[in-house]
Symmetry: C2
Subunit: 328 residues, 2 copies
């Protein structure tokens, strides 16, 4: 099977199809999709185009033996999460897929996973390419925001409060589990597997935050690193109450660790610097009623003058090194 046959069989869908699962409310934005030298697209009037590209590599970003369906879903979710952080609505994506061989079973499951998750976000595959090589997946997402309304990293103001959209540390806990560095009980296994391969991109929250948040970022590098990006871009500092950071530690009360780290220290590391959570971290004026937007949102600190991120534990300043954080 050559590249053309592969693309035709696994990555081409008739958008005019009767199948409801394939229809979105913006098929008319695609003038030319998969199958020409380029895609030709109509950006909605009075909107700006918002784009981001991400690469996932087998053995680095997911275990080599992962199921193709799950890999596709994670690759797409991780990438579309960047649109959430800008308050953008997903429209289209392109796929650059590098494959070691033409395994049709793998391809069928991968393309099924990809289209299933893209449909959930109303996002249409408009182009891409396939090449031969070590398994890697680059996805570029394209979205739109009403002109001038994108949320950036640079708008945080002194006095703003700092929020996260949900539990931190799940991504790192999941990766430790998949890499067999820790063992959890069955219920926790299932939870973390699901959190790793189906991290929910916070698109709906991002749309609501456009008129509320002063800055936002998605937590991919790790909470402290990502909040620090906001501080640097906004030329401010953040003061964080570590005990207020939401996490899922209760899910693994019966967990058994195969290495000698204590549970507590490991969770602190995962929460503060684990990354791969794809929650949003954002700032908003103190008077905004942010927690009403979603039951999982937590206020975890405030923006102050200065630079960098300052952590407190029960009201007392703590050095990051005492929290098990070393890579900052």
């Amino acid at each position: 099977m050559n590249e053309f046959e592969l693309i035709k069989r696994y990555f081409t869908r008739d958008v005019e199809s009767d199948d409801d699962s394939e229809s979105t409310d913006h098929n008319d934005t695609v003038a030319i999709g998969v199958g020409d030298d380029c895609a030709v697209l109509n950006v909605p009037v009075d909107h700006q185009l918002v784009v981001s590209i991400d690469t996932l590599i087998a053995g680095v970003h997911f275990p080599k033996q992962s199921e193709a369906y799950a890999v596709a879903q994670r690759a797409f979710s991780v990438c579309v999460s960047d649109l959430a952080a800008m308050g953008a609505e997903p429209l289209w994506f392109t796929l650059a897929l590098t494959l070691p061989n033409t395994n049709e079973t793998w391809l069928e499951k991968f393309s099924m996973g990809l289209f299933d998750i893209a449909d959930e976000y109303n996002c249409i595959l408009v182009g891409g390419n396939t090449t031969r090589g070590p398994l890697s997946i680059s996805i570029q997402v394209h979205g739109a925001v009403p002109s001038g309304q994108a949320i950036t990293r640079s708008g945080a103001k002194v006095g703003d409060l700092v929020y996260v959209s949900g539990p931190l540390g799940d991504g790192a806990a999941a990766l430790a589990m998949l890499d067999k560095r820790v063992k959890f009980n069955d219920e926790a296994n299932e939870y973390f597997y699901s959190r790793f391969f189906w991290p929910e991109a916070k698109i709906d929250l991002g749309l609501k935050l456009r008129e509320i948040a002063t800055s936002a970022i998605d937590i991919s590098d790790g909470f402290l690193a990502d909040l620090n990006h906001i501080c640097t871009a906004s030329k401010v500092a953040a003061e964080i109450c570590v005990e207020k950071l939401p996490h899922s530690q209760h899910r693994i009360d019966q967990a058994m660790f195969v290495k000698d780290d204590s549970l507590g220290i490991k969770w602190q590391q995962w929460i503060l610097s684990g990354g791969d959570d794809y929650q949003l971290c954002f700032t908003a004026p103190a008077e905004a009623n942010v927690e009403a937007l979603d039951q999982h949102i937590r206020c975890i600190g405030k923006i102050v003058e200065g630079q960098g991120v300052l952590c407190t534990l029960d009201g007392k300043e703590v050095a990051l090194s005492r929290l098990g954080y070393q890579h900052f």
Copy 2:
């Protein structure tokens, strides 16, 4: 050096800089460039967005020991060529770069090559990511066309003439040389090295063709395969005079072949199916004065009823297999 430092050092430029080489006539189209979760971009009014993504893998698309400066230039040129085929004007690009290690000399040369070639095409780097893994480069280009004016593969009409924009076979000859499958004289070596790493994307020709061509494609897979894409999409056939196909065989009259293929057969294969030429193949009505657009353009056949590509040699039909062509 972590990913942030790497991106800041090698892939971030101040577009407001005084340096003339960095200015384009559309810096104001970039609302937010490198450094946030996404880029935010202004597509020109009354224009459609045109996008394409391409991946180049070390050892597959270029020899592993190639110079970083040259690799960057080839990667960008190959990708922007797709915009030429649609008649689109380049605006922005994103880069997904996978590196085996942080070799600063390599990175400096790569980023220099990338910005130098992108400047030639007035194309601005607006985002990307870097990951650790076997060397590969994915570039997505973004351009614009006045709405409804993109040239597609599907508009060729019976009676149209078929053209190519310049010599075919150079890409395949260059790859054979780089892989040491053939040896050329010094002058030919230099020519083919340059053709491989600096294939000129036919952007200016593409813009001129918007009001003339009925269909177009860039020759990346090989002349016959790419012309067949036009025939399939346009539901027509093409009749080609093989002896009219332009090529650079005269450049290697003194070439020495290290394998046993005859010079003639090898050139026929390279011209017909070699690919990697990045010339445009296009169709236009017989009355259009196409050859006046550029001295390298050659009329090489015509569009007829039917399907597929039919070759003639000195007026007689020839089977593709007799031309050394087997992969169609």
